[in-house]
Symmetry: C2
Subunit: 360 residues, 2 copies
C-alpha cells in the first residue's frame, strides 16, 4: 500500500468534491458497492471521467471513503474465549452501524499474514487483531501504513505502538501460583498450545505470544519468590493437538520429579489435560492439583469443579470495539493500553500435594 | 446486484482480452488489490481507458476476476459445533489457495442479511451459509443472482435449490428418543435456542430452522410410534440466553406433568440445562434423564458423563468446502445434497424414569 507513483492520481475525495457529494457516497458509487441513487451515481461517474480518476486508486483512497466494515482477526475460533470476545466486539460495533468480518488464524503467523492482507483488500475501516506472533510484524506495519486504526486484543507486540486491550495476566498467574505454593506445592507444571521452537522450555527462550509469556512470567515470579528452582521439563509448549497435550501430561507425570500441580494456559488445553488425567486414572486433586485460565460454563459442572483464572472476555471485546470507534472518530496523540482485571476463582480442583506423603 | 443499465458496460473480461492478460491479473490491476507487475498494470489501465471501462462495473465483473476468497456465514461463533465446522472449511479451502472470511449472525436473520450483503461487497468467490431462517431468502437469492456458488451448511431452505451438507438429524433424534421410550419415558422435553414467534410450541408452528425442525421431528416421530400425546409445554423454544434456558427448565419441571427426560438441541443449551438442574438440586439421571445434540470434550468429563447425539462437525466443513470447490471448477446441472451420518453415544445420563415410582 505504499505510494510508488510520482504523479498523484485523483482520489475518491477529489471526485466527491467535484461531484458535490459526500466521500462515502462517492466511494460507494465508484466501488460499486452499497446503496446509492442513480442521480448521485451519474454525478460521481461524470466527475470521475473529468478528473481521469483511475479505479486502482480505490484501495488507496479508502481512508476517506469508509466501507463501514471492521475486520477482526482472532487466534482460534474453537477457543470459547475468542467466541465471547468476538461477540463483545460485534455487539458494540453493530450498535454503531458497522459490519464485522472475521478471520481465524489457528494461531499460525502465515495464516495471519494472509488474513491481514485480505482485510486490506476487503477495505475494512479498521482492524482488531490477536497477533499470533510478535516475531513477524510486516503485515501489521503495512496495515498501519494505510492509516487505518489497529487495536490489539489479548496480546501486545513490543515496538508497535498500537492501542491494546489485555488482562493483568501476570499478576493473576502469580497470585494463583502463590496459592499453590502456600498449600505446599513446589513442583508446578504449565501446559500451553503456544508455538515455540521446541516443546521444552529454557529460560532464554523468547516467547512470541505476550499473553502466554505473561501467564508463564507470573508463575515463574511466584516460584522465584518461594526460592523454587523450576525444572524446564515442567513447562510444556506446542501442545496444540489433543495428542500433544496427552504426551506433555504423560511425560511430566511419569518423571520422578513430577509436578504435583498442573496449570493449563486456556480452557481448550484444560479440557485435554483433564481428559488425559482421567484416562491415566489420576484423580484431581488427590493425585494432582489442577487449575486453568478461563472460566467456562463447564468448569463448575465437572467433578471436581475446576479452580480457574477468569478473564472478562466479553468485556475485552467491548473495550476493543470502543477503542477502535474512538480512533475512527478522530486522531489521538498516543496509543492507549487498557488493562482489564480478571480474578482467581477457587473451586475444588486444588488441594495439598499428594507428593508430600508419597515421595520427596 | 441486478442489471439496471441498458448499455452493457465493459467488463473485466473485456479489459483482460484487450490487454492480453489473464482475467485474474486484470481484476487485480483494476481493483488495486493483490500483486501485479507494473508492466501488466499499465497494459490493463490503457485497455480500460480505451474501452471506457468504468470502475463501478468492478463488482459486477467479479464472476470472471476471482478474489480467491470464500465467505462463511455461521449461526453462532460461540457454539463449538460451528468452530469445528469452520476449521474443517478453512483447512480444506486454504489447501486449495483460498482465504476464508467469516461472519457471525448470532442466529439473527437481520444480521445474516447484512453479512451476505457485506460478502457480496467484499467480492467473495463463493459463500457457505448456515441460514438463520428460511423465512427470509431475498439476500440469498441476490447472492445467487451474482452467479457465484452458494452452499448451505447444517440447514436447508425449501424452494432454494442449493448445494447443501447436513446430518441425518431426524433419524438420529428418532433413534435417541426410541431409546428413552424403551426405558419407560413417556414425557420427554426438548429445549432449543431457535427463534420462534412464541416460546411455547403448537403443532401448526412452522419452524424456520430446518436443522432444529429435523431434531424435533425425529422426537415427535418416536412419540407418535409409541402413541405418546405430546404436551406442547414440553417443547421450549427461544432459549437463547442462560436465563431463558433456566426459565424453560424450571417451568417444565415445576408442572405436575413434568418431563422425565430432557433433550437439549445443542451443547450450548445443554450446558445451561445442566447448570440449571444442578442449581435446582435435580440429579441426573436419578431425578431426570438428560441427553443433548453434539459431543464435546466436556461431555464425558462431567458427572455423570452425558449421552449425546454426535455430529461430524469437522467433516461437514470439509465436505461443504469440497462441494464449493467443485462448483468453482465448473458448472454442474443440479444441486447436490450431502447427508452425513451422526451417531447416538450412550453414556450415563439416561436411566429408567424416576417418575415411574414417584408419580403417574
Amino acid at each position: 500500500m505504499s505510494e510508488t507513483q510520482a504523479r498523484r492520481p485523483a482520489t475518491v475525495a477529489d471526485v466527491a468534491r467535484a461531484a458535490k457529494v459526500s466521500k462515502a457516497q462517492a466511494a460507494r458509487a465508484l466501488g460499486g458497492y452499497g446503496a446509492v441513487s442513480e442521480a448521485v451515481r451519474q454525478k460521481v461517474l461524470d466527475a470521475a471521467d473529468a478528473l481521469a480518476y483511475r479505479p486502482n486508486a480505490l484501495a488507496r483512497s479508502m481512508n476517506t471513503g469508509r466501507s463501514q466494515t471492521i475486520g477482526v482477526v482472532i487466534g482460534d475460533v474453537e477457543n470459547p474465549f475468542f467466541g465471547l470476545a468476538t461477540r463483545g466486539l460485534s455487539d458494540t460495533l453493530r450498535d454503531q452501524g458497522y459490519d464485522v468480518v472475521l478471520a481465524n488464524t489457528g494461531e499460525r503467523p502465515d495464516v495471519e499474514q494472509d488474513a491481514v492482507r485480505v482485510m486490506l483488500d476487503k477495505r475494512v475501516d479498521g482492524l482488531v487483531v490477536s497477533p499470533a506472533s510478535s516475531a513477524s510484524t510486516d503485515h501489521l506495519r503495512t496495515f498501519l501504513d494505510s492509516e487505518r486504526p489497529l487495536v490489539f486484543l489479548d496480546r501486545l507486540i513490543e515496538g508497535l505502538d498500537v492501542d491494546a486491550v489485555t488482562v493483568n495476566l501476570r499478576g493473576l498467574a502469580q497470585q494463583a501460583t502463590q496459592g499453590l505454593v502456600s498449600l505446599g506445592h513446589r513442583r508446578i507444571g504449565f501446559i500451553s498450545s503456544i508455538t515455540a521452537p521446541t516443546s521444552g522450555y529454557s529460560p532464554d527462550l523468547a516467547l512470541t505470544n505476550s499473553s502466554v509469556a505473561e501467564r508463564l512470567g507470573g508463575i515463574l515470579d511466584a516460584c522465584r519468590e518461594a526460592n523454587i528452582v523450576v525444572d524446564p521439563a515442567w513447562i510444556q509448549l506446542n501442545a496444540h493437538t489433543p495428542s500433544a497435550v496427552a504426551a506433555a501430561v504423560e511425560g511430566m507425570l511419569s518423571s520422578a520429579e513430577r509436578p504435583t500441580a498442573l496449570i493449563a494456559s486456556d480452557s481448550v488445553v484444560g479440557l485435554e489435560v483433564l481428559t488425559t488425567l482421567r484416562r491415566l486414572g489420576r484423580a484431581v486433586p488427590s493425585d494432582v492439583s489442577f487449575l486453568m485460565f478461563d472460566d467456562m460454563p463447564w468448569s463448575s459442572l465437572v467433578s471436581p469443579p475446576i479452580s480457574v483464572i477468569s478473564q472478562p472476555a466479553y468485556d475485552m471485546g467491548v473495550v476493543a470495539a470502543k477503542t477502535l470507534l474512538e480512533r475512527l472518530a478522530g486522531p489521538r496523540p498516543t496509543a492507549v493500553h487498557h488493562v482489564l482485571e480478571g480474578q482467581v476463582i477457587h473451586r475444588d480442583s486444588v488441594s495439598v500435594p499428594a507428593a508430600l506423603s508419597t515421595s520427596n
